[in-house]
Symmetry: D3
């Protein structure tokens, strides 16, 4: 159960509604997912987080699908169930094929493994990488 009630559009004040409207317009969808409804308990946090994500996830030097897959990689590494579910759905919507997902998981798994081998063998950084 959420720590605080989810704030539905009908019950939201103008500040929260403005963010909800921008989320739906930007993403071309007609609903708001629970993440935003939970953050809406703190309108300042909602607004700041949305504006940051909107700016960060926009097309740039990396395309939005690559960004979404990086988001999945981090969420899987941290074991955040909500974020894994929502960003995997987001990546599929942006065109991630099963083959892309399988390769993503293979890299994430391998990186988590080799991170620990580097830790455990106490390997010093090569001069060439400094």
């Amino acid at each position: 159960m959420p720590t605080y009630p989810l704030i539905e559009y009908a019950d939201a004040g103008p500040e929260v509604r403005a963010v909800y409207d921008d989320i739906m317009a930007t993403r071309k969808i007609d609903w708001i997912n629970n993440f935003w409804k939970a953050l809406a308990n703190d309108p300042a946090l909602l607004k700041r987080t949305w504006e940051d994500i909107k700016q960060i996830m926009a097309p740039g030097a990396l395309d939005p699908l690559v960004k979404e897959m990086i988001y999945v990689a981090v969420s899987v590494t941290n074991g955040c169930q909500y974020c894994i579910a929502s960003h995997t759905a987001g990546a599929k919507k942006k065109g991630m094929t099963p083959e892309m997902f399988h390769e993503l998981m293979a890299v994430v798994g391998m990186a988590n493994e080799s991170n620990r081998l580097a830790n455990g063998y106490q390997i010093e950084v090569d001069e060439a990488f400094k």
Copy 2:
């Protein structure tokens, strides 16, 4: 200091040398970085890890630069100093521009933040994402 001495090519047995040769041929380089020299203390681990990485990081549904950036995203999330240094160098070599790196970091930072907001507000997964 490494847990066990780094194994140089000159001191390596044939099993280790065969892996070293394949690493250099595959990556078109003429030196071996410390990660492999440390793992060479266990030739079976060296061989298995290299064969996995070679298979996983090869071009496929995702291009090698995207895979390298995912590797960086995981290593940064875990705080593995060796892997951050080596895979950032690897990504630069494969064509990562400063702009790409900055966007990569922005997404990694944001994902680590929103993972905790989702945890802390105890947000339940939307039906639409299941």
Copy 3:
């Protein structure tokens, strides 16, 4: 499902009951939460953990509500569902308002983000901070 059955007061031996009694007396409550009932499978672990927590969470240089919020911050960072739920409830009971919780989450989120930016940009510690 728990790894081992929860030990209810009625089924507990004298060593476990003594800890349960002290928990209820110290916290001025009349029930025992699942964490302790699970640990009671190992009476030595139960006793040691309770005595440590009792000592650590007592009023001191930091007030108990601040300590409880720090506990939440760690649990959210680690993604421990049980601990998030129980310590958020504990903090509310000790007087955490919604405004305090929102600010707590904002700091936890920001810290998790900037930790990764510091990792990813491989930033060296300033002399002034050493």
Copy 4:
């Protein structure tokens, strides 16, 4: 070594200088620490991160010292060396005494321990905490 050179004030463009000036004015200091000099390689990231931190760390329902200690708790849990050093220094400057630091560490250690006991014993959340 940082991934990109640190940007000194003298070498910074007007956008970066404006942030540096605001950091120094807000914190009443006359120097910029490496975290910001590294982020300045991406002026948009620098500006966004500073504005978020300025807003989040300002006095509110929680006092700035409590916020700084929460920042330390997260950084210690994640093992981020730079952030531990800089935010411990920041907390001392805001009035953290040795006694407060010792209690902070005791809570952080205990929370990290009990998070794993809750995981390992697979303890279900009590109805009372939902």
Copy 5:
């Protein structure tokens, strides 16, 4: 809900069936757990992961029960619910008694605590340990 459907034996191709057969033969069981059924969406990942695990978990310098308990220790530290459940079951099957589990948890909890104390007090490695 799994990201992709679980692949049952009856619906699997020959490559996947060969792995399933080897898992059942090696472990002397007549069913396949969900981990493998999920990975079977990517037959190459399934085969590689199984061959690695088969090689790594075989008797060697460490006995299989010790290996299984180390697997539990890592999974508990990472908070991976699936892996905690499956490897705790695996360890019990290999002979882990309640007393062994309790001691395992005590060490895992203590290590997670002291890891953070070492981080927070910024303790330098003794010369004798280098």
Copy 6:
């Protein structure tokens, strides 16, 4: 640099010296490592941590070497440099051979990998493991 100065035996009060004496007697050594010298800034933390570790790491259902290797597994997973160095040294002293260390690392690496595969494929716990 440590957050607070290391407390040497010569400068320690009777409460700290009593712990130092017990550490040296229990471990049959004639020096104190930095972990304890740092914790000695808070005599209550020093005493509580030492008594917990002494009790937890004593021979029991698991032998001390297995416990030490579990400690290494956790420390490697968390990336705690101090703890990796000190507990790897401790395990070697208790009889860990290179072959045992290599197998330990292989299991730790594999577990970290498969934890993320289980997360990413969002695999539900089998009924048989509940």
